[in-house]
Symmetry: C2
Subunit: 244 residues, 2 copies
DNA sequence: TTGTAAGCGTTATCAT
DNA sequence: ATGATAACGCTTACAA
């Protein structure tokens, strides 16, 4: 693997000059640029990322922690991140949290250790405290899909309460009086916040919400299907044809 | 960010000693180990991965290039890689090829530049020559789902021809005489190899294979569904009830 | 067992 | 415009 030194020798200039043309410094002689460039080609030179990171105190990677790469939800998330990362010539360092606190913690540490200054973290298993501590340690860390008041400016999340409230109110405004709610049985804020939004909307409109109107199911297509079947077969709800 | 130097000062030893306990070198004094460890805790020291990589000439990352992270197929692939990577305390550096030759090339270069010595590459768009060149440059590069004779020991791939041959022969052995083939319209080896295997099996068993028996469809659930509909509605094939 | 010091490949400061 | 050179944080002979 050719180093900057090799290129300098091959091009007959100093390494400082080589560094200048690599980094497109304005103070590089036209002649030098030329010879350095051909030298780089000849030796198929690649700047050493580690050395660069060491001196510049920042890698060109963006760390992303998700719960499970094989879940299409996270796949899409990663892909979106990658698309903007690519525009800035950065790679992604991926960590898997496996929906487990220990694994999440370990992954975040690994990601921080590896020198990424930008971290996009999707963590549901870790406690607020730990995440706050990490956020304090890493100024470029951002939480996605999670809201922690103490570090709100680092959080990007849905307003689940409001979303569920709006959806419920939308149905109410369309004349519905019996609205059921199928929720995920995941014990995370998303689930409880949405449920709360649903209940609040019903309450604000003086609609009843007997327990039989809501149930919790496995978070999957199949879970939702079974939930619907349960609601319909129990006679709690019934189809209403035409429009909303 | 505390450095090894800070730890050394705090622990009252030399940086060499600190380095030794970090790397669990056998020649580290019991007392030193103790004081260094508490010093590390106090300063919440994290070894600088770049510096380490620079001197040891190898990062602790495994690079993976896939066509599209948001595709569950690749998601599972990445997850599997991650699981063994995690056992070795390594992260994944992910590249997206986007089914495009330029993007694939660019990604591989980025991954190599970033210092990963282990590369798992899934490339369908790049030509053999380019991949061979990359393989030569990076001794730790491995091709997945692709077979290139010149670097066969670096390839991990299905024998698509044989697989299709076996599947076809299986049907033949079960008494079938009219066997259709719905293929992907992706212009990649996988598709043509499988098709060839299918044809060879028919030929070896002296079965007819009129053009109407095979067609190419979009690579998706819907594509396959439409393919079946076409075959059935054209009367090329028909259902046969019971067993194989 | 421990410390000193050279060196890894770059960048950036300072002269020239 | 160009070249020495220190520095980045760490590992590893080599000495002691």
């Amino acid at each position: 693997m050719a180093t900057i030194k090799d290129v300098a020798r091959e091009a007959g200039v100093s390494i400082a000059t080589v560094s200048r043309v690599i980094n497109k410094s304005p103070k590089a002689g036209k002649a030098s640029i030329k010879s350095v460039q051909t030298a780089m080609k000849n030796l198929s030179y690649r700047p050493n990322a580690s050395a660069r990171a060491l001196v510049s105190k920042s890698t060109n990677t963006i760390a992303v922690l998700v719960s499970d790469v094989s879940d299409p939800f996270f796949g899409s998330l990663i892909k979106s991140v990658d698309q903007v990362a690519r525009e800035h010539n950065k790679h992604l360092l991926i960590g898997n949290g496996y929906h487990d606190a220990d694994a999440e913690r370990e992954s975040i540490e690994l990601l921080i250790n590896s020198g990424s200054k930008s971290l996009i973290i999707h963590s549901k298993a870790l406690a607020d405290d730990e995440l706050i501590a990490f956020a304090k340690e890493a100024p470029g860390l951002v939480l996605i899909n999670r809201y922690i008041p103490e570090i709100s400016e680092r959080c990007i999340a849905f307003d689940n309460f409001k979303g569920a409230y709006m959806a419920t109110e939308f149905l109410i405004n369309n004349g519905h009086k019996h609205i059921a709610y199928i929720n995920s049985n995941h014990n995370i804020d998303d689930a409880s916040d949405r449920k709360a939004g649903y209940l609040k909307a019903l309450q604000d409109h003086q609609l009843a919400h007997p327990p039989s109107y809501s149930l919790e199911v496995e978070l999957s297509d199949e879970g939702g299907r079974l939930g619907m079947i349960e609601l319909l077969s129990k006679g709690v709800l019934y189809y209403r044809s035409g429009g909303l």
